[in-house]
Amino acid sequence: MKVSYFPGCTLKTTAKELDAYTRASAKALGVTLEEIENWQCCGGVFTTANDEIATKLSSIRALTEANAKEQPLVSVCSACHNVIKQTNRAMQTDADFAFRVNNYMRMQSDTYTEYHGEARVMHFLELLRDEIGFDKVAAAVKNSLKGKKIAAYYGCLLLRPGKTMQMDDVENPRIIEDLIRALGAEPVIYASRNECCGGYVALDSPDSAAKQSRKVLDGAISAGADLIVTACPLCRYNLIKNGKSDIPVVYFTELLAEALGVKETEDAQ
C-alpha cells in the first residue's frame, strides 16, 4: 500500500536513524512511504489556544496533500503525529477554526479545496497494527528478538489527549507491547510508561525534566527491562541524557528493522 509520510524536522537531523529504520521496515513490509512535498516543521507541540492559526498551517498543508492523494498521513515521530492529529481533530470539530483556516488557505492557492479533517491520520504503529497486522509483522520476522526483555515507553504525546489520539487505552496501552511480542521479545510492563519524560521543559528547567525521566527509567529498570523503546526523539534524548548509561534507549523502528533483518541494509543507512 501507499501512504503519505510526514517525517518531521528531527528525523532529518538528530534522529536520522528513526527515519531510516522506518523506511527500511516499511519497504520490507510492502508499504510505500510517499514523503509529503515541501513539508514544514509541525512546531513540536500543539497549541491548544483556539485562536492560533498560523502555528497549525504546516499540519494543514500536509493533511490536505495527503487527502488529495486519498492516502492516510503517516508519521513516526510522536510529536509530529500528535500535532497533526490534534489539528485534524480541530478541523473536524471546531467549525470556526476550520472556517478561518480554509479562508486563509484559499488565499494562498486558487486550487485549494475546502478541508474539514477528512484525511486519516495514522502513527506508524497504527499502520503496523491496523493495516499490516501484527500477525503479518510476526510472520515477516527474520531475527527473532527472543529472550530480550523490552520496556515500551509511550510518553504522553502518543496517547493523549485520548479522545483525539484514539490510539489505545490511555492508561493501560498495549500497542507497543503487542509489537514487541510480535518481534519475539518479552514486553515489560511498568506504571510510568505513559508518564511524560519532561519534554521541552528540559531546556528551561533541566532538573525538573530529569526527575520525570528518572521516574520512567527507574520504573523500567526495576521491572527488569534490558532495553527501552520509544517513538519520540525528545523522549529518547531526555531518557538517554538522564539515564547515563543505565539502560539503552532505542526507537521502536530500530527494533523492528533488526527483527525484519533490514537494519544493516542499504535502505536503513
Binding site: V170, E171, N172, Y190, A191, G219, S222, A223
Partner: protein, 663 residues
C-alpha cells in the same frame, strides 16, 4: 338541539361582590342553546343543587353551565348533581368566575363583563359536549415482581401479606440480589445476611409467593389489570422439585475452575453450584458454559452422586405464560466496569479492587473467610486507600455517569471503619470530593469513622495508581494542604459508580415504561408519584429507579407494594373518559401519535373497511387503549390528519371557547 341551563353562583359576596350576577344570568339568556338561566347565593349548597336538579328535570336540560368557583373545587360536586338528575355528568361545564374573575378584579363592571365572556365560552363548549361513559376493565388479582433482590423480595412480601398472590422472576439461580453479597450494613453495622436471609426464607415459604429463579421475562402484552407475560425458565439441568440442596454434587464436580460470580470472581466454584449457603431456592444449577458433560457428553459425576436423581442433562428452557394485574420492576443495579478508569490500575493489579469485591473480602463467607488479605499474595495489607466517586459525577458519558451514586460515601465509611476496628495496625485513607451523608444517623456514622476510628479522610482525588513491585504507588491531591501526596498502598479500593442492570432497557421496552438517559426507570411524577411508572399498572421498586441504599429501597418497595395492593383490591378499573379517540376513517396510519404517546397507549391495527363500492379495504389505523390512555392530548396535536381527538377537550370545543373569548 341542546337545551342548556346556566346557573350563576353568588358565593355569598365572594362572587357577587365584584360580579353583578343577575346581569350575568340575564346576559347569556339568548346564547345558543340556552333555555334557562338563573342565579343563587350558594349553588354548591343542598338547596343550590336542588335548583339545578329541578331545572334539569323541568326544562329537559341536555347540558348545564355552572358559573362558580374553580372546577378544581366543585366540578365533581356538580357532576354528581347532574347525574342525580339523570344527566350525563360530562354534560357539565364550569365557568370559573371566582378564582379567575371576582377575586382578581376589583371593579364591578370589569368583573361582570369578564364573567359574561367566561360564561359564554362555557356555553359554547357545552353545546358541543357529548355524554361520556368511563370504560371498565377487569383486574387479574396477581402481581409480578421482576427482580429478586431486597427490593423485589420486600415488595412481594408486602403484596402477599395483603392476601394477593405474587410471582418473583429472578434471572440468577437464587434470590437475594446485591444485598446477599454485602457484609455489614450502614449505619448500624448489622450483618446483611442476618437481616436478609430470613426475608428470603419468608418469601420461599409464603404460599402466596411463587419464585421463578433462573428465569427471565421474555414478552409482555396487555395493559393495566391484564398483563400477559411470557417467562423463560432457563434450563438449570437440575429438577428443582427433586433437588434437596444437599450440595454433594457441588463438592464432587471435577470442573473446579469456574470464576465464582458471587465472590466477584475472587475464587472459583464448580460447574454445578449453589451460589451460597442460604440460597433460595436451595437448588443446584449446572453452568452450561463450563459443564464437561453438557459440552462433551463425558462426565456425569453429579448425576452419579445425586441420590435424589435430580440431575437432568436433557432439560430444556421452558416458556410459561401468566396473566398479572400489576407488574413491579425491581431490576436493581451493578457497579460500572472499571475498564475506562485504568489510571487506578484496576486491570493491572489484583490488589486494586472495587467496593463490592471488598464486601466479599471482609465477609466471613467470602473467599478469605473474612480475613483482610491482599488478593495478589494473600498477605495482610498495612495501608489501604479508598477512592471515592470512581465514575460517579463524571461528565464524560463514554467513561462514567454524571449522577452521584449516593451509596458510596456511606459504604466507604463503613469499610474504613471495619478495617480499623479489626486491624488497628492498618492505615486507612479515604480520598473524597465531597462526603455526602444525608440520612438518619449517617453523618454521625461518618464522623465516627474519622474521630473514633482514625480513618484519614483527605479531600482530593487520586490521579494515578502505579503498581510497582508489590506496592501500589498512589499519587493524589490533598486539596486542603495544597499538596500532592504519594502513598505506598497495599490495597486500593475503588468506589465504582453504580448503573441500572443491563436487563432494564429491554424490560422497559417490553413494558413501554420510560427511562431516563441513564437507563433508570422514570417515575410517573418525580415528587408525587415516585413508585409508579407513567405506564399504568407498572410500578418501580429499588435502584432501578435511581441509586438507593437499603433503607430507602425497602421503603420504596413497601410503597410500590401498597400501590399494587390498591390496584389489585379493585374488582374493575374505571377509566377517565376524557381520553384520546381516533376517527378510523380519517386515520392514515402514519404512527405520529404512537411516537409521542408517553404511555404506549396507542397501537396500530389492520382493520377491514367496507368501501362505498361494496369492496373491502384493509387499512392500518391507530387504536387507543382506553385503559392505558391518560388523556394528555399530545397525540391530538401530533396527528397530521386530524383523526385523533381528545374527548371532553375536543378541538371543536376548545376552538368554540376561543371564538367566544375573542368575540
Amino acid at each position: 338541539m341542546p337545551r342548556i341551563g346556566v346557573f350563576v353562583c353568588w358565593c355569598g359576596s365572594n362572587i357577587a361582590g365584584t360580579v353583578d350576577v343577575s346581569t350575568v344570568s340575564e346576559a347569556v339568556k339568548n346564547e345558543q342553546g340556552v333555555v334557562f338561566s338563573t342565579n343563587y347565593q350558594y349553588m354548591c349548597s343542598q338547596s343550590g343543587q336542588d335548583i339545578i336538579k329541578n331545572a334539569i328535570r323541568k326544562h329537559n336540560l341536555t347540558g348545564i353551565v355552572v358559573c362558580s368557583c374553580s372546577p378544581r373545587m366543585h366540578e365533581a360536586t356538580f357532576r354528581k348533581t347532574a347525574a342525580a338528575a339523570g344527566l350525563n355528568p360530562y354534560m357539565v361545564e364550569i365557568a370559573n368566575i371566582r378564582e379567575q374573575c371576582s377575586w382578581v378584579h376589583k371593579d364591578m363592571l370589569t368583573g361582570t363583563q369578564k364573567a359574561i365572556v367566561l360564561t359564554k365560552a362555557a356555553i359554547a363548549k357545552v353545546n358541543l359536549n357529548s355524554p361520556l361513559t368511563p370504560g371498565e376493565s377487569p383486574v387479574t388479582k396477581r402481581a409480578l415482581v421482576i427482580g429478586g433482590g431486597i427490593a423485589g423480595i420486600q415488595t412481594a412480601l408486602d403484596i402477599a401479606d395483603a392476601g394477593f398472590p405474587v410471582d418473583i422472576v429472578e434471572t440468577k439461580p437464587t434470590i437475594g440480589g446485591k444485598m446477599a453479597q454485602l457484609d455489614k450494613t450502614f449505619p448500624t453495622l448489622d450483618c446483611a445476611a442476618c437481616i436478609l436471609t430470613p426475608k428470603m426464607v419468608d418469601a420461599a415459604q409464603n404460599d402466596k409467593i411463587r419464585i421463578y429463579s433462573y428465569s427471565e421475562v421474555e414478552e409482555v402484552n396487555g395493559f393495566v389489570g391484564n398483563f400477559d407475560v411470557k417467562i423463560r425458565r432457563k434450563a438449570r439441568y437440575v429438577k428443582e422439585e427433586l433437588c434437596t440442596g444437599c450440595g454433594l454434587c457441588t463438592e464432587k464436580c471435577p470442573q473446579k475452575k469456574v470464576p465464582n460470580e458471587f465472590n466477584m470472581g475472587m475464587d472459583n466454584r464448580r460447574a454445578i453450584y449453589i451460589p451460597f449457603a442460604q440460597a433460595v431456592p436451595k437448588v443446584a444449577t449446572i453452568d452450561a458454559d463450563y459443564c464437561t458433560m453438557l459440552k462433551t457428553g463425558k462426565c456425569g459425576v453429579c448425576s452419579k452422586v445425586c441420590t435424589a436423581g435430580a440431575i437432568d442433562y436433557k432439560q430444556k428452557d421452558e416458556i410459561i405464560t401468566e396473566r398479572y394485574g400489576a407488574i413491579v420492576a425491581a431490576t436493581g443495579f451493578n457497579p460500572i466496569s472499571m475498564d475506562k478508569f485504568d489510571e487506578y490500575a484496576y486491570s493491572q493489579s489484583k490488589d486494586v479492587i472495587t467496593s463490592l469485591e471488598f464486601e466479599r473480602l471482609t465477609n466471613a463467607a467470602g473467599p478469605t473467610a473474612g480475613k483482610l488479605l491482599r488478593p495478589s499474595d494473600g498477605k495482610h495489607p498495612h495501608t489501604v486507600v479508598f477512592v471515592q466517586c470512581v465514575g460517579s459525577r463524571c461528565a464524560a458519558a463514554e467513561k462514567g455517569k454524571e449522577y452521584c451514586s449516593k451509596i458510596c460515601c456511606m459504604y466507604t465509611a463503613k469499610h474504613a471503619m471495619l478495617i480499623r476496628d479489626k486491624y488497628p495496625d492498618v492505615e486507612v485513607y479515604v480520598f473524597y470530593i465531597d462526603v455526602r451523608t444525608p440520612g438518619k444517623n449517617f453523618d454521625e456514622f461518618y464522623r465516627r469513622a474519622v474521630e473514633e476510628y482514625g480513618v484519614h479522610y483527605i479531600k482530593g482525588m487520586v490521579g494515578k495508581v502505579s503498581p510497582e513491585g508489590d506496592v501500589l504507588k498512589v499519587q493524589a491531591s490533598d486539596l486542603i494542604a495544597n499538596k500532592q501526596l504519594h502513598i505506598d498502598a497495599d490495597l486500593v479500593v475503588l468506589a465504582a459508580a453504580i448503573e441500572p442492570d443491563k436487563s432494564a432497557r429491554s424490560l422497559a421496552t417490553m413494558l413501554t415504561a420510560s427511562m431516563d438517559t441513564n437507563d433508570f426507570f422514570t417515575e410517573a411524577h418525580p415528587k408525587l408519584r415516585p413508585v409508579e411508572s407513567p405506564t399504568a399498572g407498572v410500578f418501580l421498586s429499588g435502584a432501578c429507579q435511581g441509586p438507593k441504599d437499603i433503607p430507602e429501597t425497602v421503603s420504596q418497595a413497601g410503597a410500590a407494594a401498597s400501590k399494587v395492593i390498591g390496584l389489585l383490591a379493585k374488582d374493575k378499573l374505571i377509566g377517565n373518559p376524557c381520553i384520546a379517540h381516533s376517527d378510523e376513517m380519517m386515520c392514515n396510519g402514519c404512527s405520529s401519535c404512537e411516537r409521542v404517546c408517553p404511555y404506549g397507549a396507542i397501537t396500530y391495527v389492520n382493520k377491514e373497511f367496507r368501501m362505498p363500492d361494496r369492496t373491502t379495504l384493509v387499512r392500518r389505523v391507530a387504536s387507543v387503549n382506553e385503559a392505558v390512555c391518560q388523556g394528555c392530548g399530545a397525540c391530538t396535536v401530533a396527528c397530521p390528519s386530524g383523526a385523533m381527538d381528545l374527548r371532553g377537550f375536543t378541538a371543536q370545543q376548545i376552538m368554540s371557547e376561543v371564538d367566544a373569548i375573542c368575540k
